[in-house]
Symmetry: C2
Subunit: 242 residues, 2 copies
């Protein structure tokens, strides 16, 4: 649940606002004029914390606004009628979250922290205020939400491909997203389990294991538990060029 009363106040250390946040080129303010970033900063709740396994919001709960992950990662889940989890997406630092509740004002997905997360929260009612005072923000949010559309098309593409191609693409996609945010693109930690990867990609977790093993045998990657190192990016890439 989004609940600012559980937030750690940011006044205990140097105040971080949107204008000086290290994510300011990735997060909501991207593309906003500097003056409007200032206005945005006044409306955002910062330093919300969730531990691994805790929910950021639940499916069925009312939409409370848009969330920007500052650190840590999360998974976005949906459930089928039998209660089976479906991993809709993984959310990495600097990425936005919450669009699944904007249409109906009720979330149809659940967001769970995969490790300790720290996030900012732009409350829903403030979005409406901003839409009037800060027309640029509406545009930015609209573009961001349509970004999700682009991402979904990519996912559909993947669902037509072989299990090997899906895993290769998954690894490269995570790598890309991390590198945009300043992390190493060749060596990182997969914060999600094999099961969650399989669920996300639509393949069995055993298949994920087998393919990761195969990629190691082919010297494309080196894996130690959740730590992953890409040793032959071109080799991995060649999977979806064919």
């Amino acid at each position: 649940m989004i609940d600012s009363t559980t937030s750690t106040s940011s006044t205990t250390k140097t105040a971080v606002t949107c204008a000086n946040c290290n994510l300011d080129n990735l997060c909501i303010p991207k593309g906003l004029p500097r003056s409007e970033v200032g206005e945005l900063a006044l409306l955002v709740n910062r330093n919300n914390i969730r531990q691994k396994g805790e929910a950021i919001y639940h499916a069925g709960s009312p939409f409370r606004g848009i969330i920007a992950l500052r650190s840590g990662s999360a998974k976005l889940l949906s459930f089928d009628q039998n209660g089976n989890e479906l991993v809709v997406d993984f959310i990495l630092p600097g990425e936005l979250l919450g669009f699944d509740g904007m249409s109906s004002q009720i979330h149809n997905c659940t967001a769970i922290a995969l490790e300790t997360v720290n996030y900012c929260h732009l409350p829903a009612y403030k979005i409406e205020i901003l839409a009037i005072n800060t027309p640029g923000l509406s545009q930015v949010l609209l573009q961001r939400s349509c970004n999700q559309f682009d991402a979904q098309v990519q996912k559909m593409m993947l669902s037509r491909r072989s299990a090997e191609e899906r895993v290769a693409c998954f690894i490269l996609h995570i790598s890309d997203r991390l590198s945009i945010r300043g992390y190493s693109e060749l060596e990182f930690r997969l914060s999600m389990s094999r099961e969650e990867i399989g669920n996300y990609l639509g393949i069995a977790h055993e298949t994920v294991s087998r393919i990761i093993h195969l990629f190691q045998a082919r010297k494309l990657i080196a894996v130690k538990s959740k730590q992953l190192k890409i040793t032959d990016k071109k080799g991995l890439f060649s999977f979806y060029a064919t």
Copy 2:
């Protein structure tokens, strides 16, 4: 391509505006106060026509705005790196189109008419004007675009299910969408080919044929070429309840 110079002027018959259009509860104006609908009506290009097989816009072309289908249907395509078509969605009368270009200002999908279509067009630059004068519109567009997100989650669900379940769900989904728009929910024409259905559902067109045959044998549906009649809706429905 969106090009209002090829439009048939609406002045030749009784002027249809957003306020008296029979789709006004489904299209962009849904949820807008009446006064704002009037403003919207002034900015929309009406009566754009495309014949079967013609493109409404192409992937790679600049985003020109949001489109609302007044009649006819269309398919939204993407292409993989080998040039294979991927049917991203089918668009039915009263539904909106064009969000795939909003994020980057370049369309990453191609929209093709499946039969003669008549559509309205809200130009991109007018969206920005409206965002200032008509704050409600931004909200509506934002909600609509996030609707797409919800729809994509449903599609991901489908991609985990068996071919039979996918076809059953596809038929029921089309039925629902048509009935919302006042068409018969039990008898309608599938304007797309088996190939396109298969492409959309991620299965081979032969499999689509086989399953449609199977459903007929089980008395769930009656099919004559592209004409389809649902004879046992509950039976079809039971597919994704299990």
